[in-house]
């Protein structure tokens, strides 16, 4: 069906190609169709936000993209290769951030672990860990254990681990759900900063419409189950964004209203 909802002007190969993705959970004699038919593409270096009602299949989509879940139908390709298992150079920040941290490792150990598996030399690992923890404001907690930290701090450890990994594709599943407004604003700017500095493609799942518009170059609105891409909105705000001016811009309000309208429509369609 809607193979290319919107063609963006810029060049660049597709890093992520989701084509006719369908996922039905079969559990105890009952089949739950979480994702009906999803098609979209992300170009290299794009930052796209994914919004949609709770339970519409955002996490399911992300897991299929990450190669953690086999789709029932359709295909997912990352950098031109079909995904059957987690592709290299991809990092994921899970919605259950607390459970994704190893409780027997310190904060530093958690951030460093994937780098060890990458066989980076110690000096390079240390530098990356320092930098990542500094970036999320947790340098002082490096030798604490995750369970000694607050929920928001744990979430930042998971983010630090993802960015220290230097991924080409970064998937984030509602990564700022447990942080206060100020930290959240800082982390939003951090993600944009990192995305601009490193050549990453980012798919960012959020509930928050303002956040989606502020962060993204594109906002994909998902319908409620059975899920399809309801709308694909290009965010034509200037590249340099900051919390005060961007959020008070006329265009920001318009885009926000549009996303909001689409989500309302998505909810109405289901009821």
């Amino acid at each position: 069906m809607n193979r290319d909802i919107r063609t963006h002007s810029q060049e660049g190969p597709d890093v992520l190609d989701v084509n006719g993705l369908r996922k039905t959970y079969a559990s105890a004699g009952r089949a739950v169709e979480a994702v009906h038919d999803l098609t979209f593409r992300l170009r290299a270096g794009e930052l796209a936000c994914l919004v949609g009602p709770s339970g519409c299949g955002k996490t399911t989509l992300l897991k299929c993209v990450a190669g953690l879940l086999a789709p029932t139908g359709g295909t997912v390709a990352v950098a031109g290769h079909p995904v059957h298992s987690p592709p290299p150079d991809m990092a994921v920040v899970f919605q259950e951030y607390g459970r994704s941290l190893f409780p027997w490792l310190t904060v530093r150990g958690n951030v460093e672990l994937p780098l060890k598996e990458k066989r980076l030399p110690r000096a390079r690992r240390n530098a990356l860990v320092e930098e990542a923890l500094e970036a999320v404001g947790l340098a002082a907690s490096a030798s604490s254990h995750p369970w000694e930290l607050s929920g928001g701090m744990q979430q930042r450890v998971a983010i630090a681990r993802a960015i220290a990994y230097e991924p080409r594709v970064l998937l984030m599943d509602e990564p700022f759900a447990a942080v206060d407004a100020q930290t959240r604003a800082d982390l939003e700017d951090l993600v944009r900063g990192l995305w601009q500095r490193f050549d990453m493609t980012v798919l960012f799942v959020t509930h928050d419409i303002d956040e989606a518009v502020y962060l993204g170059q594109r906002v994909l609105v998902l319908s409620s189950a059975p899920t399809v891409v309801q709308d694909d909105i290009e965010i034509d705000l200037p590249e340099q964004r900051d919390q005060l001016t961007t959020r008070s811009a006329q265009r920001f309000t318009e885009l926000r209203a549009r996303v909001h309208g689409q989500i309302q429509q998505a909810k109405r369609a289901s009821t």
């Binding site: 987690p86 991809m90 990092a91 994921v92 259950e96 409780p103 027997w104 598996e117 369970w147 000694e148």
Partner: protein, 268 residues
């Protein structure tokens, strides 16, 4: 806390702690003494008699010939069971096919009470220390095996996904994810195994041995050396306590993260 801890001085607190710790043992020894000092107490010597006999019997060459070898066999059997139990438990925990294949056999073997293996192993491996190690290991491998399987199977799926995403596999996955996740259950299994090991050591020596702690107790009993027999029992009790304390220290180190996690989970 409702009372101010500063209002009680440190030595006083230490004293009251000691008093609470030693009150019941002191009381029991008192009752023992009282019961033993009555008439017709041939089979029940007083604590004083047992204490002096203990010195004579065990602070001698006998400690080297009977106690130490027993402890050595006990630890060897336990270590063997730990290695086999954890190794097989990890393999079975990770593989559904392997579990299905082995389940009926494991259920049967687990149901066989380990002491009945003594006569069988006597025939198969003879009377020497190999037999005793085999009895100890074959009896106490089960709690380790079953708890390890359970621990490995209860690895958090989010952590497992995290490892997959960051491509952590092989040895590193085994040591940082599987074994660490399962360590609380593994330690539970090892603790159970340790007490079973002591029991099996004694039983195997009573039945089929010419040395060792269990043998000594039976020999004293047959020779009506009653106080000596009691000292053997006391020594076995002390051995159990010492092993348990030692194990507690190891457990404290290995599972410090687990206690911290549980404490914070309760707190918030």
């Amino acid at each position: 806390m409702s009372t101010n801890p500063r209002s009680v001085s440190a030595p006083a607190r230490a004293l009251s702690f000691l008093a609470r710790l030693l009150l019941l043992p002191a009381l029991l020894v008192g009752v023992w003494w009282w019961a033993a000092s009555g008439e017709g107490s041939f089979y029940l010597p007083t604590p004083g008699t047992v204490a002096t006999t203990f010195g004579e019997v065990w602070l001698s060459e006998r400690f080297l010939t009977d106690a130490l070898p027993s402890i050595g066999l006990l630890l060897t059997g336990f270590a063997l069971a730990a290695v086999l139990g954890v190794g097989a438990g990890v393999a079975l925990g990770l593989s559904r096919t392997l579990r299905d294949l082995t389940e009926p056999v494991l259920e049967f073997l687990r149901a066989v009470p380990p002491p009945v293996l003594v006569p069988l192993l006597m025939l198969l491996v003879g009377l020497d220390s190999t037999m005793r190690v085999a009895v100890i290991a074959s009896g106490c491998v089960w709690p380790v095996l079953l708890n390890t399987i359970e621990g490995v199977r209860s690895v958090d799926p989010v952590l497992s996904d995290t490892c997959r995403v960051y491509r952590i596999r092989g040895r590193r996955r085994l040591t940082t994810l599987v074994l660490r996740s399962a360590s609380p259950q593994i330690m539970t299994g090892l603790r159970q195994a340790l007490s079973i090991a002591v029991i099996l050591m004694v039983i195997s020596e009573m039945f089929a041995s010419s040395s060792g702690l269990g043998f000594a107790v039976v020999q004293f009993q047959r020779g009506f050396a009653i106080p000596e027999m009691w000292t053997g029992i006391v020594l076995l009790g002390l051995l159990g306590v010492a092993l348990s304390l030692l194990f507690g220290q190891v457990e404290k180190r290995v599972l410090s993260w687990h206690r911290g996690l549980r404490a914070t989970a309760r707190g918030g």
